[in-house]
């Protein structure tokens, strides 16, 4: 198990390295594009262009440029934006990351609880009215666009039924270290809004997995052992079905933390990674875009590495992989 974890982490590091190379090449070695002009932003003066060229070593060989870039990004962390002159890139990322992490973590807790409970209840009541009801709720949750749901929720709580929801603060973000209570209150609506879609997906996926599992031979064996239906569902079927839910969760979590929660962040005015990427794209702020892309990719790689380890914990058959 230990060697499995080590091997998986080493391969994750290799993947991250390749991603950094690829991102670098896309931004700096795309034929026909002058990276200096790109970094400097729109209508930059020749002096600025020269400065950019010197700073990033744009007239030097490619590997050295890559090294310089990584040096500025990770070691010295002094990569600066030329659009918002003088603003450093890394602090922007490290400032936005906790917002996104708070949003996604809270939402993940909600959607896992609701999704797993929904899937279990639906599978346990197959053939009764509860099952199609939950599945319809699931498809409805999946179909509602986040930006619409967010707007409607905001509208209802802030204007229409404001008297009921007075205790809810407006949009914005308060950091956890500043005030845990306000942090949770400010994130409450974003959490549920973001969780809705995923809860629907997870409930449907888990139900399908459970229904499949309940037709497996080992469930027949469990019945022949005299176990109760409840125990068969909760121990045998759920345990085997969780394996696919976990792998799904890893991908979703990674991409959301990496910036895919953009819509929720924009609707609720949360200054997270998605928002940062969005604004830097609008300004063509290349250094920020590059850093954000790399950050996002790293999170996805990290999440899938964690998922693989979890996978091995859940499924003994994976552990013996040569």
């Amino acid at each position: 198990m230990f060697t499995f974890v080590v091997r998986r982490l080493v391969s994750a590091i290799l993947v991250m390295f390749s991603i950094s190379v690829m991102v670098f090449l896309i931004f700096f070695a795309t034929p026909g594009v002058n990276p200096a002009a790109r970094i400097a932003g729109r209508s930059a003066s020749p002096q600025v262009l020269a400065q950019v060229s010197a700073e990033f070593g744009l007239n030097r060989p490619l590997p050295i440029r890559y090294g310089l870039m990584m040096w500025h990004l990770f070691i010295k962390q002094d990569l600066t934006s030329y659009v918002n002159i003088g603003v450093r890139v890394i602090p922007q990322i490290t400032g936005a990351a906790p917002v996104t992490l708070s949003l996604v973590l809270g939402a993940a807790v909600i959607w896992l609880i609701v999704g797993v409970a929904g899937g279990l209840v639906a599978a346990a009541n197959r053939g009764k009215w509860v099952d199609p009801l939950i599945m319809f709720g699931g498809i409805a949750a999946v179909s509602i666009p986040v930006f619409w749901l967010g707007q409607v929720v905001g509208l209802l709580t802030q204007t229409k039924f404001h008297s009921v929801f007075q205790w809810l603060p407006g949009s914005g973000y308060v950091s956890f270290t500043q005030s845990p209570g306000q942090w949770a209150l400010h994130l409450l609506l974003p959490w549920f809004t973001l969780a809705t879609l995923y809860a629907g997906v997870y409930a449907r996926v888990l139900r399908a997995e459970l229904v499949n599992a309940m037709n497996e031979d080992y469930v027949r064996t469990a019945r022949a052992k005299g176990l109760s239906e409840r125990r068969i569902l909760m121990r045998h079927a759920l345990r085997c079905s969780l394996i696919s839910v976990v792998s799904l969760f890893g991908l979703d979590f990674g991409s959301l933390v990496g910036g895919a929660a953009l819509l929720t962040e924009v609707v609720f005015g949360l200054p997270g990674i998605g928002m940062l990427t969005y604004t830097s794209l609008q300004n063509l702020d290349l250094p920020v875009i590059m850093a954000a892309v790399m950050y996002g990719a790293f999170f996805i790689v990290l999440a899938s590495a964690v998922v693989d380890v979890l996978y091995a914990v859940l499924d003994p058959r994976v552990r013996v992989v040569k």
Partner: protein, 347 residues
């Protein structure tokens, strides 16, 4: 031949009150879009203590469904199960899941066809055996684990103390089937139902598993119902045999009688289809045709469409007749002898 004596009117032996299992007129049918499918039609079965009863027939003859329906393991809203199943003097057909749970795994153990899929892949074999023991007894976790180790050793798993923590995928097919058998025996059941326990295994492993089951029958004192399509398994294991075709019993009796002097043409076919080592023939013997779709089972004898001795009488359904060795066929004994002589001449 016009008046058949009523079935089981004069059966002796296993039908007595000390029977572990007494099945009467068990029928299982499924309502489908194409019509009613009679998967099992009028099965009778008696199992005495420590007796091994074989149920034999081709795939699709309803033998597995019959066993699953007895244990309430046919979970299909379209299924209807009628008849009577008396286990240890108690009617168990129609009991609720809750009432059946102490019986399943506790007093009736089950062994399944495919050991590769019969165990939950994510739990160690020890865990799965302990789970069953703790479901039916008051043993503590450590005691149950101890018992699991003993059981694994008993069914011939080497180094059982270490292997008890292994996962199913770490065992070979034969070893897994031993684990399944250990699990089925873990609560000393009165009755062991084995559904094609050797079908998924290679021939040498088959022999070992059969030998093991025979030995365990003696040490644990369980009766065994063994479901198979292989007459070889019957000859090896069974004390009594019931031959099923298209959901109906066509012949039953002591193993020796059924195997040595079979009376039903279907049994002749089954026995002829067992390849023998050392006997050279151009082709493997087969019974012509296939088991018909359960939707198309005729009113009369179900085997008639494939039977080379079919007669006009066969449009009516023959009842099971005879004493201890029963059969459901319109052929008279004289006809049977004549057919036997002809076959001998031919070969």
């Amino acid at each position: 031949m016009s008046s058949n004596p009523t079935p089981q009117s004069d059966r002796r032996g296993a039908g007595d009150d000390d029977a572990v299992l007494k099945v009467r007129d068990l029928s299982v049918s499924f309502a489908t879009r194409q019509g009613l499918v009679r998967a099992v039609d009028g099965l009778n079965l008696d199992v005495a203590p420590k007796e091994v009863v074989g149920i034999v027939g081709e795939s699709g003859s309803g033998k597995s469904v019959a066993m699953y329906s007895m244990l309430g393991l046919v979970r299909d809203a379209n299924a209807s199960i009628t008849g009577s199943v008396v286990f240890e003097g108690r009617e168990i057909l129609g009991l609720s899941d809750k009432e059946m749970q102490p019986l399943r795994g506790g007093q009736i153990g089950m062994i399944f066809q495919d050991p590769m899929t019969a165990l939950t892949p994510v739990f160690s074999v020890g865990w799965q055996i302990v789970e069953q023991i703790r479901q039916h007894t008051e043993l503590t976790k450590t005691q149950a684990k101890e018992r699991a180790v003993e059981l694994l050793a008993e069914v011939g798993i080497p180094d059982a103390r270490r292997r008890v923590d292994s996962f199913p995928h770490e065992f070979s097919g034969g070893m897994r089937q031993r684990v399944v058998i250990a699990m089925a025996l873990s609560c000393n059941p009165k009755l062991l139902i084995a559904d094609e326990p050797t079908t998924a295994l290679d021939v040498t492993t088959q022999a070992q598993i059969l030998e093991l089951m025979g030995r365990l029958r003696d040490t644990h004192g369980s009766s065994i119902v063994i479901i198979t399509h292989d007459m070889g398994v019957i000859a090896e294991m069974a004390d009594r045999v019931t031959v099923m075709y298209a959901g109906r019993p066509v012949e039953s009796g002591p193993e020796i009688d059924v195997v040595r002097s079979p009376r039903h043409p279907y049994t002749w076919g089954l026995l002829g289809a067992v390849p023998r080592l050392g006997e050279r023939s151009e082709r493997l013997a087969t019974i012509p045709g296939n088991v018909m779709s359960p939707l198309d089972v005729p009113e009369g004898c179900a085997f008639a469409p494939r039977c080379e001795y079919a007669m006009p009488e066969c449009v009516r359904r023959p009842a099971m007749t005879g004493g201890d060795h029963q059969h459901a066929c319109w052929l008279s004994d004289e006809q049977r002898v004549a057919i036997g002589d002809r076959t001998k001449e031919a070969s």
